[in-house]
Structure formats: C-alpha cells, structure tokens
Symmetry: C2
Amino acid sequence: MRDAYHEDLEALTTTLVDMTRLVGGAVSRATQAVLDADLSLAEAVIDGDDAIDAAYNDIEKRAYDLLARQQPVAADLRLIVASLRMMVDLERAGDYARHIAELARRRYPASAIPADLRPTVLEMGQVTARIVEKCGRIVAGIDRGDLVDKVEQLEREDDVIDNLHRELFTVLLSDDWDGGIETAVDVILCGRYYERLADHVVGVARRVVYLVTGERHETPLA
Amino acid sequence: MRDAYHEDLEALTTTLVDMTRLVGGAVSRATQAVLDADLSLAEAVIDGDDAIDAAYNDIEKRAYDLLARQQPVAADLRLIVASLRMMVDLERAGDYARHIAELARRRYPASAIPADLRPTVLEMGQVTARIVEKCGRIVAGIDRGDLVDKVEQLEREDDVIDNLHRELFTVLLSDDWDGGIETAVDVILCGRYYERLADHVVGVARRVVYLVTGERHETPLA
C-alpha cells in the first residue's frame, strides 16, 4: 500500500517534468513557426496542446485521489498541493505557446514578425525555451542543495525576457517605425505571450522553493 | 472541534466571495480611471491589489491547515481543492484590474482610450464588472438549483466580452483609423486585460459546477 502511495507521489513529479518538456518543445516550435511562417509547425503546436492538457488532468486526478484516500501530511501534503498549483501554471504556459502558434497561423502565408524585429523575437523564444528547460530540471531534482541559486538564475533570465519585451515597444513606438497597426498588434501580442509564458514557468520554479523550504510566501507567487 | 472545522470551511467560501467583491470594485474603478484619466482612482486600484493578495494568502493558509489537520474527505475535500484553484483565478483577475489601472497611470494626464473607442471599452468594463458580481453570487450560493443556468448566463456575458474585444481590433485595423501606434498598443492591451479577467472569473464559476456536481472535466477549466 505504501509503495503504491510513493509511486503515485513520484508520478506527480514525473508528470510535471513531462509537462515542462512538452511546453519547452512547444515554445521552440512556436517560435520557429511565427518567425518562418511555418504553417505545419504552427498546427503541430496547436494540436500538441492536448497532450499538455492530458498531463494536467492526470496530475489533478492523481493528486485528488492521494488527498482523498491517503490523507497525506507534512512534506507529502505540500508536494500534492504544490503540484496542483504548478500544473496550472504549466498548462497556462502551454496555452501561451499555442497562442504564439495561432498568431503564426492567422498571418500565414505572411510572417507575423517584421524583419527588423526578428532577432528580438528569436531571442525571446530562445531565452523562454531555456527558462522552461531549467525549470524542468529544478522540478525534477527538488532535493538539490543549490536550488535557491538556480531559481535566482531563472529570475535573471526572466529579466532578460522583460527587457526584450520592452525593446519591442521601443521599436514600435519610435518615430521611424512604419510597419502598420496590424503588425504592431501582432508583435505586441507575441511579446506579451512570451512574457506571460516565462512568468508562469518561473512561478513553477519558485513553488519548488516553497516546497523544499516549507515557507509560505507573503505575496502570491507567479 | 467539528465546529471550528466547519467555520474554517465556511470561511473559505466567505473569503472567496470577498475576493470577488474586491475584484468587482477594482474593475469598475479601473474602467473609470482608464476612460477619464483619473490618476487618484488608478492609484487606489493599484494599492487595493494588496487586499486581494491578503485574501489569497488567507485562503491558502486556511486550506492548507484544513488539509494537514483535519484530513477532510469527499465534499469537504472537493471544496478545499476547488478553493485553492478559485483563489488563483481571482488573484489573477485582480492583477488584470491593476494592469488596466497601470495603463491609466502610464498615460496620465492623457487618456489611454481614444474617444471613438470609449463606448466599447466602457461596455467591456461594465460587462466584466457584471460577470464578477454574478460570479460572487454563484460562489456564495453554491447550493442553488439553477446553478448550471446561471453559469451558462455568465458564459453568454463572456461571449459579449469576446465580441467587444474583436470590435476593438476591427476599429484599429480599419483603413480610416489614424490614432497612432502607441494608442493602438494601449487599446489592444486594455482589451486583452478585460478579456483575460472575464475568462478567469468565468473559470471560477465553472469550478463551482465541478464542486457541486463532483464531475471532473476532461479539459482544464478557465
């Protein structure tokens, strides 16, 4: 009985890590889709969101069964409650990757991103994919000693995203930018999707700190 | 002992209802602030977000203590888990009201919303405030017989928001619109904040259905 219990607990973590992999893959492909106006890649991301939702449902069911049947306490209870929170953030992160892909699809065969902003969007996509990848490692190895350092690294990567996001605004609002309203709207939405996505994923990593230290934070995370 | 337990359970609902009131007030004031370029109103919304965060922390602490100490099962367990989900959506909804207020503050003393789009944004604000108000009543009276009807009404109101949101794009992307990129960006962000806010709040109402029927949905809510 206890063995099945621990297997279920471990499966929570494994499935969360799976979700980070799915989200990371979706981010990379959505970035390529939006930059290269690649319709089939965009559709792969959009269709792939179902697998993220399935992982979400799997965690919710497992967590709920554990709570109902095993009456876990202390660290186990914290893990279950934290998993319920983390899965929400990862599911939302997946939604944002899907939104980026939908942007690519909507503007196909044109690219949603004008040439002068491609490097900025490419970098946003790459840094975001890196954040997701690192978050996955943090979730997978929650017992590591340098956890707080790693989460702080992640927050610095998130600052990079915020700066790139601001850069988009600076370019769009400069006097010599003449790309038109529709493109401006697409770029702003695209930038916001990356910014929100990264924010949710960093929130997941912060939850791991809460899980390991047991400290409840004074302000809501993520 | 059982009495304190039931008081704690009831307090979860009461605090969630309080959160809807705080969010509803924030939406109405943020709408006025962004339309009238009212700086003090904008700052009141921004400062008021702390009270929403405090309610969130209160629910989290109470839910966690209930799970750890009382080992609740069945309907009580569902209420606690659902409360943890609903508080996240309401806290995010509060963040979006704050974002609208921040938009008003950033453009002060100018108004972020041009004259021709004021009616659309005003209606988005009013419908969103109504959705929040109705959601509060749904959360408060979760035992009512016409619950599913009421949630469906809410979803129709949410469709109105989606249509108004699309209307903003139609106006901005029309050939004769000449309000400039900066205004377009503000309008797009503002519209998106209302749309996301309403979405989170409708998600809360849907969670009440889950809570009452006990049915786990196949796809993630909200």
